[in-house]
């Protein structure tokens, strides 16, 4: 698949990454090489192979439904840039 700069820009926007013009063209090249490798993988016959959800051959352990966490708000909020009345404050979001 031929990757274009617009694809890189879109991916960067979705990931909220600031990418300069110079970097963008570099990423087009790097990502294209990765996609070439994916193309190579695509050429393999995977008929009858189950999709892999996780590389480990293990299944999810479940925990009992118990409250084990205590209130540590003060500790957590020490690294927050702005708090008030127990709330984390962030730049205004209006949808």
């Amino acid at each position: 698949m031929a990757l274009e700069e617009s694809h890189v820009r879109r991916a960067a926007h979705l990931a909220r990454l600031a990418v300069s013009d110079d970097q963008a063209s570099g990423f087009v090249e790097d990502l294209s090489r990765i996609l070439d490798m994916v193309d190579q993988l695509q050429s393999l016959d995977t008929e009858g192979v189950k999709p892999l959800a996780h590389p480990l051959d293990a299944t999810q352990r479940l925990r009992a439904d118990e409250v084990t966490e205590s209130n540590q708000r003060d500790t957590f909020q020490r690294c927050a840039p702005a708090v008030e009345n127990g709330l984390y404050l962030v730049p205004r979001v209006v949808e």
């Binding site: 979705l14 909220r16 959800a53 996780h54 480990l56 293990a58 299944t59 999810q60 352990r61 479940l62 925990r63 009992a64 439904d65 118990e66 409250v67 084990t68 966490e69 209130n71 540590q72 708000r73 957590f76 909020q77 702005a82 008030e84 009345n85 127990g86 709330l87 984390y88 404050l89 962030v90 730049p91 205004r92 979001v93 209006v94 949808e95």
Partner: protein
């Protein structure tokens, strides 16, 4: 042109676990902001999720209740988007391998008819936090207590054809999750939230029209109103030569309208991928069998039994089976008095009326099922008449006695069925009402039936309401007609 409405619903049900889906933080409602948001819920670096067994069990129970295939292997995916109430930058959800596969739910419409609505799937996911848009010096406040609360998202097929069917479907889901006890079903507190997909197509056309998705409709009534508005908007748009665009809309209950939120071009690209922090969830047959054996009798089964075995009407059976609390109360009343029809009448009539007036739920009824059953028994064995029964009910409600019998004794409400005693009262009333007797005698025979009401009233009054009304009626007619 005739139009047909096509509706599909996505219902988010908050599961009633004690702790969150991936952390040991409490899910209790109403705590101080952020006091129930731990490192996992905050998405702090290095914090890892561990899945709550109870959330899995609840999802499976729902699946079993809607006759769905339960996935032997289900997988959690990351749904990526940025919003401050989602600190990790992704919601852990299930996109490709949900825990509950295709199933179906039977809904009952107002006329008593039923319809089967197919469930596409149901998946587990975590709730986000809450944004408080009041002004904090031009900033937004974030409370993450709700972040990580387990949700079951139930996605229907586009099988509903009217707002009424959509509301009935939502009620059926509500009924099932509260019967199972997997959610408190409290819509006002957001325990059940609903996205509605609506489209219209010319009647007879097979292809679906373009749909709009209405977000966050939070009551049975709003679902109907939002759909009604949206259907009208779409039909008008098409009939004026326009076309519906695929978009997300918000329902505004104050203005009774839906408004565009974002169109598909701006739609999010969630870039789902399997969550590397969580392994596939594998459920074995023994576990499913165990959960199946724990299932309570479900609303549809109760409804059928109430109708077929107890002889209730389709309407009564439907109303009473809709809530587990009401159904169990009704069954306890019925066990006490043995008369299903009377039990249904009292539970839906006098009791529901009194509960509504005082805004009480049936679980908090001041009158117990045993007390109500005894009261009905006293009507059935003719100890008291219907009027006295209402008085006893009121006294029980007010806590004026332990049992119907106590109140009947204390208030002297025992029905007078002794013919001699009733005749004596009738003779007295006739003697005291010469004018009315004369009027009765002089009026047209067909008007006398109505006039007898006056005498019945007087006799009932003389007996302080305790005379058997059927006997009073019969004896009065005999005695008055003897005077003609």
């Amino acid at each position: 042109m005739q139009w047909e409405t096509v509706i599909g619903l996505e219902v988010h049900v908050q599961l009633a676990t004690r702790s969150k889906i991936f952390s040991g933080a409490s899910t209790a409602f109403g705590a101080e902001p952020n006091t129930q948001a731990c490192a996992v819920d905050l998405g702090l670096p290095g914090a890892l999720p561990v899945l709550n067994e109870q959330a899995v069990a609840m999802a499976v129970q729902f699946g079993l209740a809607v006759h769905a295939n339960i996935a032997e292997v289900s997988v959690f995916d990351r749904k990526n988007y940025f919003y401050p109430d989602l600190p990790k930058g992704y919601q852990t959800s299930q996109m490709h391998h949900p825990i509950v596969g295709p199933g179906d739910i039977e809904i009952t419409l107002e006329d008593g008819s039923t319809k089967c609505i197919r469930i596409h799937h149901a998946h587990l996911e975590e709730d986000a936090g809450k944004s408080l848009h009041e002004d904090f010096h031009g900033m937004t406040g974030i409370d993450l207590n709700r972040a990580g609360t387990p949700l079951l998202e139930i996605v229907s097929e586009p099988d509903m054809r009217s707002a009424k069917e959509a509301a009935a479907y939502l009620k059926a889901i509500h009924s099932i999750v509260t019967y199972l006890g997997i959610s408190d079903g409290n819509m006002a507190e957001g325990s059940m939230r609903c996205d509605v997909n609506v489209s219209v197509r010319p009647t007879g056309q097979e292809a679906f029209g373009t749909r709009a998705e209405i977000k966050n409709v939070n009551s049975f009534r709003f679902v109907e109103r939002a759909i009604a508005f949206e259907v009208e908007r779409q039909i008008e748009l098409i009939e004026d030569g326009g076309s519906v665009i695929q978009e997300t809309r918000l329902f505004d209950p104050d203005r009774d309208e839906t408004r565009s939120m974002r169109t598909k071009e701006e739609a999010n690209d969630y870039r789902y991928f399997p969550c590397p922090d969580l392994l596939p969830v594998v459920l074995d047959q023994a576990y499913l069998d165990h959960l199946r054996s724990q299932l309570p009798e479900l609303p549809a089964d109760k409804r059928e039994r109430f109708q077929n075995e107890l002889g209730l009407s389709a309407y009564d059976a439907n109303v009473i089976s809709a809530s587990r609390d009401m159904a169990e109360f009704f069954e306890a009343v019925h066990n006490e008095c043995g008369d299903a029809k009377q039990s249904a009448n009292w539970v839906q009539g006098e009791l529901s009326g009194a509960l509504n007036r005082e805004n009480l739920s049936i679980a908090n009824s001041p009158i117990s099922a045993r007390q109500l059953g005894e009261l009905i028994s006293r009507v059935l064995d003719d100890t008291i008449n219907g009027k006295a029964a209402k008085e006893v009910f009121q006294a029980l409600w007010n806590g004026q006695g332990e049992s119907a019998d106590d109140i009947i004794d204390a208030k002297g409400l025992k029905q007078v069925t002794d013919t001699g005693a009733i005749e004596a009262m009738i003779d007295q009333v006739i003697a005291d009402s010469p004018a009315q007797v004369a009027q009765y005698r002089d009026s047209e025979p067909e008007k006398r039936g109505k006039m007898i009401g006056y005498f019945v009233g007087q006799v009932m009054k003389a007996s302080r309401g305790t005379a058997n009304p059927q006997q009073v009626n019969g004896l009065l007619k005999e005695k008055l007609d003897a005077l003609l």
